[in-house]
């Protein structure tokens, strides 16, 4: 049986799991908890595909050990929508066609959520810097930036 017994909160739910020391938060999400919304890209913190929010800050889940999670609060892309209603960031990614293959999309949307939580009214430059840790090989980024700026405007208006 795996060494570590960990209790954490994921998307508001209390979760308990076992993991080996070698397993990252990304491994735990995908392989132990079968939450495959979070994607595995580079595994070295360069691409941002595995971005999740941990204790209120976005992190690369490939650079966090599962064993470190005891008592942590994690938010993943699976927690963005409310029932069948998409989060404004998700809806704007669709509206602006801000994705093609989709592998980077959960990471981008999670990072965008973290960015807008700290800066609800970012400039385009701030969005570009805020998303600099997320790589996309399809879109050329521009549609992603538009989607995030548009989502920010909608989220401000609905407050």
């Amino acid at each position: 049986m795996a060494k570590h017994f960990v209790s954490a909160t994921i998307n508001g739910d209390d979760v308990e799991f076992r993991c080996e020391t070698e397993q990252t938060l990304l491994d735990v999400l995908r392989s132990e908890l079968h939450m495959t919304g979070t994607k595995n890209g580079c595994g070295t913190g360069d691409c941002g595909a595995c971005t999740v929010i941990m204790n209120g800050r976005s992190v690369n889940s490939c650079l966090v050990l599962g064993a470190e999670l005891d008592g942590a609060e994690i938010e993943t892309v699976e927690g963005m929508a409310t029932g069948t209603e998409l989060h404004p960031i998700q809806q704007k990614f669709l509206d602006h066609a801000a994705l093609q293959c989709g592998i980077c999309t959960p990471g981008f949307m999670t990072q965008a959520k973290a960015l807008l939580a700290r800066n609800p009214d970012p400039t385009e430059t701030e969005v570009r810097f805020g998303l600099a840790g997320n790589l996309c090989r399809c879109t050329g980024y521009d549609k992603i930036i538009r989607a995030v700026l548009d989502a920010a405007a909608e989220m401000r208006a609905s407050k």
Binding site: K3, E20, T21, E22, N60, L63, V64, L65, G133
Partner: protein
């Protein structure tokens, strides 16, 4: 898929006090300290290291706090870049130290990467280090023989190397509280605008007299030698002077003269030596302007 290694003999401990951490590190020949993990987990994954124990120091209170004292500022080794950025008092006192750490990686990396980890990882291009050297920071090391302090410029001994002995780890970093009209700055050159490794980095810390002359100054350069270097001649060049073109030219020359860089894909030797001069001049100018306003 995605598991760092296929062996399961790797243990993980979360000591909550310094003594327990030191005991774990002393008793285990293949122990590694974990703070933010942004370097350690990559090294594990790439099998550059094969520890049998990971000692997570983040649950030790001393590693996680920034204490603004009357005579000193004590920054826990495991304080993250994002946390430093949100600390207005520290940013006002040592803007260059904070801007150096802030340059490390993306938002996601900033949420995890720590000031102590950047130092201990020992990259010659570490963005968090030159401003600490310029700031005359002391590295507080705990170990089986108690506590010792090492000047920041003496901590690293080469790429990936430092003075830590068996059982020791960095618990905090101490910066002095400076007189009014003091400030600092850190600049780096990278080929893109974000998320890259410094080709050259320059940190300058200085204090001005009431008459506008320089009372104290230190400069450090990163990525131009096997470790970040203290440019000792910079102190004499700046102290007692005003910020004139001649002074800046002498400073630039001293910066270039202290370079012993490598050629790599990010920059040639010649380019690094030239850029060191430019960044030294600019960082000194920014630090000076900040000191005038502080």
């Amino acid at each position: 898929m995605g598991v760092l290694r296929n062996v399961s003999d790797l243990n993980y401990e979360t000591p909550t006090d310094i003594e327990s951490a030191v005991a774990l590190l002393t008793d285990n020949d293949r122990a590694k300290v974990l703070a933010g993990g942004t370097d350690l987990l990559v090294q594990l994954r790439e099998e550059m290291i094969e520890p049998s124990l990971i000692v997570d120091i983040k649950r030790i209170a001393e590693t996680r706090i920034v204490k603004m004292g009357a005579d000193e500022i004590r920054i826990g080794a495991a304080v993250t870049g994002a946390e430093l950025d949100e600390n207005d008092a520290l940013k006002a006192a040592w803007p260059g130290v904070v801007e150096g750490v802030e340059l490390i990686g993306s938002w996601q990396v900033q949420g995890r990467a720590t000031i102590g980890g950047n130092l201990c990882n020992g990259s010659p291009a570490a963005d968090g280090v030159p401003a600490l050297i310029a700031g005359a920071a002391k590295i507080v090391i705990v170990g089986p023989n108690g506590t010792r302090e090492v000047p920041a410029e003496d901590f690293n001994t080469g790429p990936g190397q430092n003075v830590l002995a068996k059982g020791e780890f960095v618990v905090s970093i101490v910066l002095p509280v400076r007189p009014p009209k003091s400030s600092d700055a850190y600049l780096r050159f990278i080929p893109r605008t974000e998320m890259d490794i410094a080709v050259v980095g320059a940190g300058v810390s200085l204090t001005l007299n009431e008459d506008g002359t320089c009372a104290a100054a230190r400069m450090s350069l990163g990525a131009v030698a096997p470790k970040a270097v203290l440019v000792e001649s910079a102190t004499d060049i700046l102290v007692g002077k005003k910020l004139t073109d001649d002074v800046l030219a002498a400073l630039a020359e001293a910066a270039s003269a202290s370079c012993d860089p490598i050629d790599d894909k990010r920059g040639t030797i010649k380019f690094r030596i030239k850029v060191a001069a430019v960044l030294a001049r600019r960082a000194a100018t920014i630090a000076w302007q900040r000191a005038e306003k502080s």
